[in-house]
């Protein structure tokens, strides 16, 4: 189906619900005294939007708004994902002391706006729309990063983020203009049709792709567009860092898959994708993937701040996910979708513990985690250990299954990809070192004399989120059939 403006509205209600919630929060912010209610408002709106999004699974896939956005299982997957991340982030914000000192009305309104932007990123089928959605996510992210009042680090992070983001998206739109010049269209379907023409200049196309990659790469956080991430992760309020690390990354993956797979390559029978011949694009991805994971892991080795370490580990994980893109097969894409879900659970969990400990001690330094298990915080410490081991990729945790599918997709291609797989597993070994270092600090080291006991009461709100996330990390490591089926079903594109 190919709908015009009014007809599209029937399939657009999740976005409308979110927009309504945003407006409502802004208005209610002026009236309500107890700002916690605004968070509940945001929560209700997100859950309603989530229900609405699930409802759309029954709809016919197609174009909406004059071919500006696409409705298919793939976009629905990332919409559900963005909402899940938003809901978790709101719950996390409720239990965080950091958020209590900011303007909560604006905070939740901006968070939902960011989520809305991710909706468009997942479904854009037009270069202009892709650019606009990416900017919507970026702009709200800049503001939220600098949201801590009178905090120099937070402001500095926001400024860095803004400058990097500005350059990256400028480069990207320049690349897009090349594509437009070569194909005469901004619409993905038209671009795909034009790619088949013999007169397309392969070198120019390659350069255009590199430019576009700058924009996508900065969202997914891969080398060499990763410089902003450690500072931003460290400076931003922790719940938002958690959201940024998973949702923004996933949205970047979505927009990239949408552009490079159904956009410029074609699906051939047997689950493989044919890229335009003559453009060595997959090899660039292969190298980027290797470099990204290696740089991320090596830089993470000596970090003193846990949030900063998780930023570098996030870079490494972006590298692992890129493997799934480089292999150009459906297994790879399915593995990426599986991985982002697993990554959402374990990374958010890790940040949640960081936030809980920061509530109690006021610091995120690894030094502060010394003997944590023996200082009255054995449950958060054990949960963090589970998340970190899952990030390493050890069974029986979900992270192992995620990595396993990625490796399987890579080894299925064989040949030069063996080297990629080898680099990736060696990187996992390196990553074990720094993840295990945190576990060592928490469990094996005895606390310093001046370290205070941490009292996290059983009634702490954060437990209501922490325990389910831990359980999910274990459950998806043992029984992942349904999740796998869901990600496989999500790999259906309206344009093939």
């Amino acid at each position: 189906m190919d709908l015009k403006n009014i007809g599209s509205l029937d399939f657009f209600y999740p976005e409308l619900i979110i927009s309504g919630t945003i407006l409502l929060i802004i208005v209610l912010d002026l009236l309500v005294r107890a700002k916690q209610r605004l968070a509940l408002m945001a929560l209700v709106g997100s859950v309603a939007a989530l229900v609405a999004t699930f409802d759309l699974y029954s709809a016919q896939p197609g174009w909406l708004f004059h071919r500006m956005i696409i409705l298919d299982n793939f976009s629905l997957f990332f919409k559900v994902f963005a909402l899940a991340a938003a809901i978790l982030c709101i719950l996390m914000s409720l239990g965080s002391n950091e958020i209590k000192q900011v303007y909560q009305g604006e905070y939740y309104a901006l968070l939902l706006t960011c989520t809305l932007g991710m909706f468009f990123m997942a479904s854009a089928s037009n270069l202009l729309m892709a650019y606009l959605s990416l900017e919507l996510v970026s702009l709200t992210s800049y503001v939220l990063t600098g949201f801590l009042p009178r905090n120099r680090r937070s402001s500095e992070a926001a400024l860095k983020y803004l400058i990097y983001g500005g350059v990256a998206s400028g480069t990207m739109i320049y690349g897009m203009s090349w594509i437009f010049g070569m194909t005469g269209s901004l619409d993905y379907a038209a671009i795909q049709a034009a790619m088949g023409q013999p007169e397309i200049n392969k070198t120019a196309l390659f350069i255009a792709f590199i430019f576009i990659m700058a924009g996508f790469g900065y969202k997914i956080v891969f080398v060499p567009f990763h410089m902003w991430s450690p500072d931003v992760y460290q400076g931003a309020p922790t719940p938002f860092t958690a959201f940024l690390s998973v949702a923004s990354n996933a949205a970047g993956i979505a927009i990239m898959i949408r552009f490079f797979f159904p956009g410029v390559s074609r699906m051939v029978p047997g689950g493989e994708w044919a890229f335009i011949s003559g453009v060595e694009w997959p090899h660039v991805l292969l190298f980027l993937s290797m470099i990204t994971m290696t740089v991320g892991n090596l830089c993470a080795l000596n970090q003193r701040n846990l949030k900063r370490m998780l930023a570098y580990s996030g870079i490494a994980h972006a590298g692992y996910m890129l493997m799934g893109l480089a292999v150009l097969n459906n297994e790879g894409l399915s593995a990426i979708l599986f991985y982002v879900v697993v990554y959402l659970i374990m990374n958010l969990g890790a940040f949640l513990v960081v936030s809980m400990i920061a509530n109690a001690t006021g610091s995120e330094d690894i030094e502060n985690y010394r003997g944590l298990a023996w200082r009255g915080a054995v449950i958060p410490a054990a949960c963090l250990a589970v998340f970190l081991l899952s990030l390493t990729g050890l069974p029986p945790f979900a992270g192992f299954i995620g990595k396993f599918f990625l490796f399987a997709a890579v080894l299925k291609e064989g040949g030069a990809f063996f080297i990629l797989a080898l680099v990736a597993v060696m990187n996992s070994v390196v990553s074990l070192y720094y993840y295990a270092k945190i576990i060592k600090t928490m469990f094996l080291d005895s606390p310093n004399l001046e370290d205070k006991t941490i009292s996290i009461g059983a009634q702490d709100f954060n437990f209501t989120l922490l325990l389910p996330l831990t359980v999910l990390t274990v459950v998806f490591g043992i029984y992942f059939g349904p999740l796998l089926r869901y990600t496989n079903q999500s790999l259906s594109f309206f344009i093939k």
Partner: protein
């Protein structure tokens, strides 16, 4: 007795869960943990008694779909080789719970982790699905890391992370190899029995890239090597053995016992279960250097290192390196005696080294140090202790009438037919072994009693309870080894028959 293997593996897990839920009462926790290791031991004995010794294939098989889209199943089964290892695991875990009664730091965590470790080890020996095998293989690492890291000696953090990193490094290669095999089988499967049946599908044509073209290695050889690295680290074969002395010295006594008694066997078990039947051509090509010669080198190198040690526990650790060399050497011979001797040696080393570590623990608990030269004349102070130690030392030395002798002689007999030079080298290792053990005995037990230790109390009932069963097994297997050999013969013959045509 349906699903016996599943119960055997998951009763300890249930035990761990119960232990975590118990109130903080050390006594209660200890006894509940001990109770959780009894059913697996009884089941292992039942398996041992009811196993059909004339049949080579897997018995007591359980198979359920796990992840159909990747053809992963929950597939369990045992043959003679696995039963011998399962029995060893169940026995040592049961005894080690009692050896751990002295632990008083975070008791609940210790016993819960110990039971998880128990389950992981059992799982490795029973799994017939490669994915499942790998999961168990890795699951075992975590409890081990914490058990060494939290309850270990002064340098425990270093030892724990070293163990963790080494093993994880090895299993990273293994994971790639497993996936490569998966994509080569048709239809793609992780079923080990199918992989064994399709062993001819794993190509042997020389790969056209460096370094494989120089070495004349094909796909099968590359996979063999990747698997071998994973297993060699566990054995531990030179040069991957350096984690072992550190881990052993720092680990608490019971954990040292498990490390030496069970974990090291996983390496050789893996080679026999996976490399031999699945990659027969590569095994035939590479066995001489990577199993035979390396094994002989392990024997000599381990013995020489042991001789130089001042720490009693480190000495036992290096003696393990040396004794595991016999297992590798025996496997490499592809003769009935050699391979049976190798597996018997795995079992015997498990019992003898367990005794040695327990005995070191006994003296360490009393004297609070393990410096060989710091004792002297203990024989007069603790005569019973001296007696048990002598039994263990002689068994380790390979004195006729004790179990170590049978397995070593079988290995040497088997190897002589194939590699006489290696056999001579290995046999000289026996002399070195006798040398360092007797020398140690002299320094610790003989001579005038050390003034400081006149008040040491004799070995107590609980300690004897852990030692006696092992001592009895050592004597029985020294006189009547057929108890275990009958169990192994059919299964090992089958494994061996796969290789013979490719020699």
């Amino acid at each position: 007795m349906e699903n016996l293997l599943t119960y055997m593996i998951f009763i300890p897990v249930a035990g761990a869960a119960i232990v975590l839920a118990l109130p903080n009462n050390a006594k209660l926790i200890r006894w509940v943990s001990a109770a959780a290791t009894v059913p697996p031991l009884l089941m292992a004995i039942w398996l041992f008694a009811n196993f059909d010794r004339n049949q080579a294939g897997f018995q007591f098989v359980e198979k359920y779909q796990w992840i159909p889209s990747f053809n992963i199943s929950y597939y369990m089964g045992v043959d003679g080789l696995s039963i011998s290892m399962v029995l060893l695991t169940a026995l040592l875990c049961f005894l080690c719970i009692f050896a751990s009664f002295g632990i008083d730091k975070a008791v609940k965590g210790y016993f819960a982790l110990f039971l998880m470790l128990d389950a992981g080890m059992m799982g490795v020996f029973c799994a017939l699905d490669f994915f499942l095998f790998f999961v168990f293989w890795e699951v075992m690492l975590l409890p081990m890391y914490f058990l060494i890291g939290i309850w270990g000696g002064p340098r425990r953090e270093y030892a724990a992370i070293k163990f963790f990193l080494y093993t994880f490094f090895g299993s990273a290669f293994m994971l790639i190899a497993i996936l490569a095999l998966y994509f080569t089988t048709e239809p793609h499967t992780f079923d080990m029995t199918v992989m064994m049946a399709q062993a001819n599908k794993f190509g042997t044509e020389v790969l056209p890239i460096w370094p494989f073209n120089q070495l004349g290695w094909g796909f099968q050889h590359a996979i063999w090597m990747a698997m071998f690295i994973g297993f060699a680290i566990k054995i531990p074969a030179f040069p991957f053995h350096t984690w072992l002395p550190d881990a052993h010295v720092e680990a608490p006594t019971a954990i040292s016992v498990i490390l030496a008694g069970v974990l090291l066997k996983m390496g050789t078990y893996g080679i026999l279960r996976i490399n031999f039947p699945m990659l027969p051509v590569a095994t035939a090509d590479l066995a001489f250097w990577f199993l035979g010669a390396l094994g002989a080198w392990n024997i000599i190198y381990g013995a020489l290192c042991a001789m130089a040690q001042k720490d009693l526990k480190k000495l036992v650790a290096y003696s393990s390196v040396s004794h595991m060399g016999y297992v590798m050497l025996g496997m490499a011979s592809f003769t009935t005696q050699g391979i049976n001797g190798a597996v018997l040696q795995m079992f015997n080393h498990g019992t003898i080294t367990a005794m040695l570590f327990l005995l070191v623990g006994v003296i360490y608990d009393r004297a609070h140090h393990r410096d060989i030269d710091g004792f002297g004349g203990i024989a007069a102070i603790m005569p019973l202790y001296m007696g048990v130690t002598a039994l263990a030392f002689f068994a380790s030395m390979g004195l006729p009438g004790l179990s170590g002798f049978i397995s070593e002689i079988l290995v040497l007999l088997g190897t002589w037919q194939k590699y006489p030079i290696l056999t001579i080298i290995a046999a000289s290792g026996v002399i070195l072994t006798a040398g360092y053990l007797l020398w140690t005995m002299q320094r610790v037990f003989l001579g005038p009693p050390n003034e400081k230790y006149l008040k040491l109390s004799e070995i107590n009932g609980r300690e004897m309870f852990t030692l006696v069963p092992l001592g009895v097994i050592v004597v029985i297997l020294g006189i009547y080894p057929s108890v275990v050999l009958d169990l192994l013969r059919a299964s090992l013959d089958q494994i061996n028959q796969v290789i013979i045509p490719h020699l």
